[in-house]
């Protein structure tokens, strides 16, 4: 039997409310701690790399070539920076148009069943270990030939493709259906509708996805070890004939070196790479936010 509640008593916690309040505080505290841990991990990683790599960093480190072989460790990592830039540029040139076309196929042309099958394939491709992709490209383009920058870019493009395709597809889905209908009702063909109405509305989101894919590819190491790791200390630009020096493989080989000077250079290279990726990601976020605000302002007025 429940006793009738006395609604006139003071409004303080009573009965099981004290216990419920306690559980509430516990859950809130653990969620907060989990969030703090995530921030802390990033903080510790960034701090340790800045602390150990900061000493190696100098203008010369960024713009000079490494010292020639047998003259001891030292010198800059300029070729690796340029090489990574070139590798990612070529990879983006392959993956961006292809990825956007895949996204257009998924949202504008494919039937729901085909689309979901292709989406699953893209997610599987995205989940493939990068060493496996590296191995595949090694077997395809490197065995029997020298390593080339193009082989490295090709492997990076495979890694970027599902990221660009999936993120572009998400933003294309957000483009209002009634804009497509309006264009179709004007007797404009499907493809011109995509080009003239759908893509311009989704451009900011597509670019953001592309930048995130670039950030991911810039740090990939495993495929480059297999495809673009035996390189001279200069960038000739001959991406089909020679391997390109690059930061991730440099970090790997420098850290394997017995010389402590090389270890400092490995940390310095890691700092450069990390700084590039952090700038790219925050830049992408700012770009996306600005785009969203423009869209919101346009649709509010």
């Amino acid at each position: 039997m429940m006793s009738p509640l006395d609604h006139a008593r003071p409004l303080v916690a009573s009965g099981n409310l004290r216990r419920r309040n306690l559980v509430n505080r516990l859950v809130e505290a653990s969620a907060t701690i989990a969030a703090i841990i995530a921030v802390a991990v990033l903080g510790v990683v960034v701090y340790s790399i800045v602390e150990r790599g900061g000493s190696a960093l100098s203008l010369d480190f960024l713009i000079k070539d490494p010292l020639p072989a047998f003259s001891g460790p030292g010198g800059g990592i300029a070729p690796a920076i340029v090489g990574t830039g070139l590798l990612v540029l070529v990879a983006t040139a392959v993956a961006l148009p292809l990825g956007v076309l895949i996204a257009i196929y998924l949202t504008e042309f494919a039937g729901p069943r085909t689309a979901s099958a292709v989406r699953l394939m893209l997610d599987l491709l995205n989940g493939l270990p990068s060493i496996v992709i590296g191995l595949f490209v090694f077997g395809l383009l490197v065995v029997g030939h020298p390593q080339t920058g193009f082989a490295g870019s090709f492997a990076l493009a495979i890694i970027m493709l599902p990221i660009i395709a999936r993120s572009s597809q998400e933003v294309l889905l957000v483009v209002p259906q009634n804009l497509r209908e309006a264009a179709r009702a004007l007797g404009v063909s499907r493809w011109r509708t995509v080009l003239g109405v759908v893509l311009p509305s989704a451009l900011g989101g597509i670019l953001t996805g592309a930048v995130l894919a670039v950030a991911r590819a810039a740090g990939e190491t495993a495929p480059l070890i297999l495809t673009s790791s035996i390189f001279a200390n200069n960038v000739t630009g001959n991406i089909f004939g020679e391997a390109l020096p690059n930061i991730p493989v440099s970090i790997f080989s420098l850290s394997e070196s017995p010389d402590p000077v090389d270890h400092a250079r490995a940390w310095g290279s890691a700092l450069v790479l990390m700084a590039f990726i952090l700038v790219a990601i925050t830049g992408a976020r700012a770009l996306h936010r600005r785009f969203d605000q423009t869209q919101a302002r346009l649709s509010r007025r």
Partner: protein, 301 residues
């Protein structure tokens, strides 16, 4: 061809060659002439749409069933009926905009000037180029006012005298004076009523024959609604207009002929059927069917 011509020359008309489908240019005796506009063409009118026993279903659901009616040139034909009776399905089947709906199945025939618009050799893009549409919610493209009108013109290759065409379309939609000084500004900055008139301008810019209006004023305030209705009276001189509305007063104000669709639930299945189709004045004052009378008297819907 003017209305007078069509009376003088009964053998003319694009559909006069059709054989098995019967003559498309039909002559009707004058019935229930509206008192406000004594229209000589009402005695003998050119048929634009000749719809035979049209049924549209989505998967297992039948939206409309057994609809037969004729839509006349340079007239405003209203389609009224309670929610869910298939008004939108009906009007969207007239320019094949339902094609992209999965599982859509269409039976019966829609003859447009004697041509079955669902025939296998018909290009739906060409259908929509001649049969324009304005939607319930204004849906201007996120482009400038000028480009909203010019975009389809460019895509359809109507680039000669683009400025003039845009101006003519905006004048035709009674919008020119309000926007002539801000053509380069975003269309999303216009008010709802202006946006809807821009959508009408966009639709008439490509010089279609028919305008389908799917509840064009239901998202607008009374003043904007009045301006759209006034505009329709001007537009019918050049275009054949079919308007779906759930606002009976609107149908009574603007339309010469009115079709009343209703839900039929006789055998346990819900489907939209055409109850009555006649002169608007007849539908609202002397309906032949009890269901029409109940609806226009406000007893349901």
């Amino acid at each position: 061809m003017t209305k007078a011509d069509s009376i003088a020359d009964p053998g003319s008309g694009p559909g006069s060659s059709s054989g098995a489908d019967g003559p498309v240019v039909r002559r009707r005796p004058a019935v229930g002439l509206g008192k406000r506009d004594v229209d000589p063409a009402a005695t003998a009118r050119e048929v634009v749409f000749d719809i035979h026993d049209l049924s549209v279903s989505y998967g297992q659901t039948t939206a409309i069933s057994g609809v037969s009616l004729e839509i006349y040139r340079n007239a405003i034909t209203a389609v009224i009926g309670p929610s869910g009776c298939g008004k939108s399905t009906f009007i969207r089947s007239l320019n094949r905009l339902n094609d992209s709906v999965r599982g859509m199945k269409i039976e019966g025939q829609i003859l447009y000037h004697g041509h079955d618009i669902y025939a296998s050799d018909v290009d739906p893009v060409e259908v929509r180029r001649r049969i324009g549409m304005v939607f319930q919610k204004p849906n201007p493209f996120p482009k400038s006012i000028f480009d909203n009108v010019a975009w389809a013109l460019r895509n359809l290759g109507m680039k000669d005298g683009l400025q003039d065409r845009v101006e003519r379309a905006l004048r035709g939609a009674a919008l020119w004076d309000e926007v002539k000084d801000r053509l380069r500004e975003s269309a999303l900055g216009l008010s709802g009523g202006q946006q809807q008139r821009l959508c009408i301008a966009r639709a008439i810019a490509i010089e279609p024959e028919v305008l389908l209006l799917d509840e064009p004023a239901s998202a607008l305030d009374p003043l904007a609604t009045a301006s759209i209705e006034e505009l329709m009276h001007d537009l019918k001189r050049e275009y054949t207009i079919v308007i779906v509305t759930h606002n009976m007063q609107q149908a009574a104000r603007v339309a010469e002929r009115t079709a009343f669709l209703s839900l039929d639930v006789s055998d346990g299945k819900r489907r939209g059927v055409l109850v009555e189709y006649d002169e608007t004045s007849t539908i609202f004052t002397r309906p032949a069917d009890k269901r029409t009378e109940d609806y226009v008297m406000g007893k349901f819907g």
